[in-house]
Amino acid sequence: MKFTPRLPDENVNVSKTHPLAELAWLLGGLLLLCLLVFGGLGLAVDLTVDHLPPRVEGWLGDYARRQFPAREAAPLQRRLDALTAVLPPDSPLRGRIFRVRLSSDPQVNAVALPGNTIVIFSGLLDEVTSENELSMVLAHELGHFAHRDHLRQLGRGLVITAVAALLFGERSGVTELASDLFLTWQASYSRRQEAAADAYALELLVACYGQAAGATDLFVRLAAKKGPRPSRLLASHPYPEKRIEVLRQLIEQRGYPVAERIPLGDDLRRLLAKEVGKE
């Protein structure tokens, strides 16, 4: 055998793939994996929200109450009790005890928290001009309870935070960013959720007062007042114009009577005077 010195034509031991192309493929795969996990868990949350044990919701409620320091307010509680008294007999909310609390926060907003608690901010109380309006706000939040939107919204935030904590660790900046962005108690509801809660509230309002006056008042006023500082209520409960329109259509379709608004009761006026220092 004769030895012929020559070099091999090409290197078979090293892949020809460009490193950046490989990076793109791997990152793409990772992204796909994250999306699948995110979508899958989101779906799982949507399914489990309907079967969340009361014990877990109670625990979430305790946690939520710590985030929103507020106190009992008897005048508000009386309005809420009047609404829950006229709930239809087959309502899923029947038999649950709802509490309304007042927060001194000046923002114009109200939130439905886990554990059957509604928090009204004093800024909202300041905006309200009639009993009907206040009842509409309370009934709207009851609507979110009836459709379990308050849990659904929280569940998604929890899933994202959990995924971030799993991937990057609990103390990492990414997890902090994710929980800051997503684990919020006042995240926006979707247009569909808002419309459903509105329709629910309108029915309850009519059941309570026998007429639909004041259903759109607060939103008409807030939408008209769009200033340099948009109201927090509009931030967490978006699409005001669309909702006013839908509510008006509903009132017309169902032939609900619209009569006089009932002015705020004396107990509420006193509460308001104490809270925001004006009559």
């Binding site: 490193p19 990076l23 791997l26 990772l30 960013l177």
Partner: protein, 158 residues
């Protein structure tokens, strides 16, 4: 956008290291391959075989051990590729060139030694690799590969 990067110094450091790793790593690899190919052409006439070989009496004047070894380190970019590979499985292409460079460099150093001492052939070539820094994919660990080539160099009688 700028604010987001300012608030996450970890991410900025990571991206800088990644870019630096890619740029410096690619440059070093390209230069190393150029040098390897040049020296391989120069030493191509010195035959290296893995066979034991046997020669007629009087043909071999001298036989001795020659060896060459080299250590090549990974860079930040290659490590990221390998970590991502650990998720999906498959060939860790990022490390293939490292091992290839280490082996060829080790053989070249061995051949250079044999050539210097006037050998006409290297028999019985053996190649071994070892990792230095066991947990190369772990944080704060530098991973590198060592390749050692050794064989029996023979000097023939003219």
């Amino acid at each position: 956008m700028v604010e987001f990067f300012l608030q996450s110094p970890d991410l900025v450091i990571f991206l800088v290291l990644l870019t630096l790793g890619y740029a410096a790593g690619s440059l070093a690899e390209k230069r190393h391959y150029r040098s390897i190919e040049k020296r391989e052409r120069e030493l191509v006439r010195l035959a290296v075989v893995t066979a034991e070989g046997s020669f007629p009496p009087g043909r071999v004047r001298q036989a001795f051990l020659v060896s060459g070894s080299t250590v090549v380190s990974i860079d930040y970019f290659k490590r990221l590729l390998a970590i991502l590979r650990n998720i999906f499985g498959g060939r860790v292409k990022a490390y293939e060139s490292l091992v290839d460079r280490a082996r060829r460099e080790a053989i070249l150093r061995m051949k250079a030694e044999a050539h210097q001492r006037g050998a006409g052939m290297i028999l019985n070539l053996r190649l071994e690799t070892a990792t230095i820094g066991r947990n190369a994919n772990r944080k704060k660990q530098v991973g590198s590969v060592e390749a050692i080539a050794y064989g029996t160099a023979v000097v023939f009688n003219k």
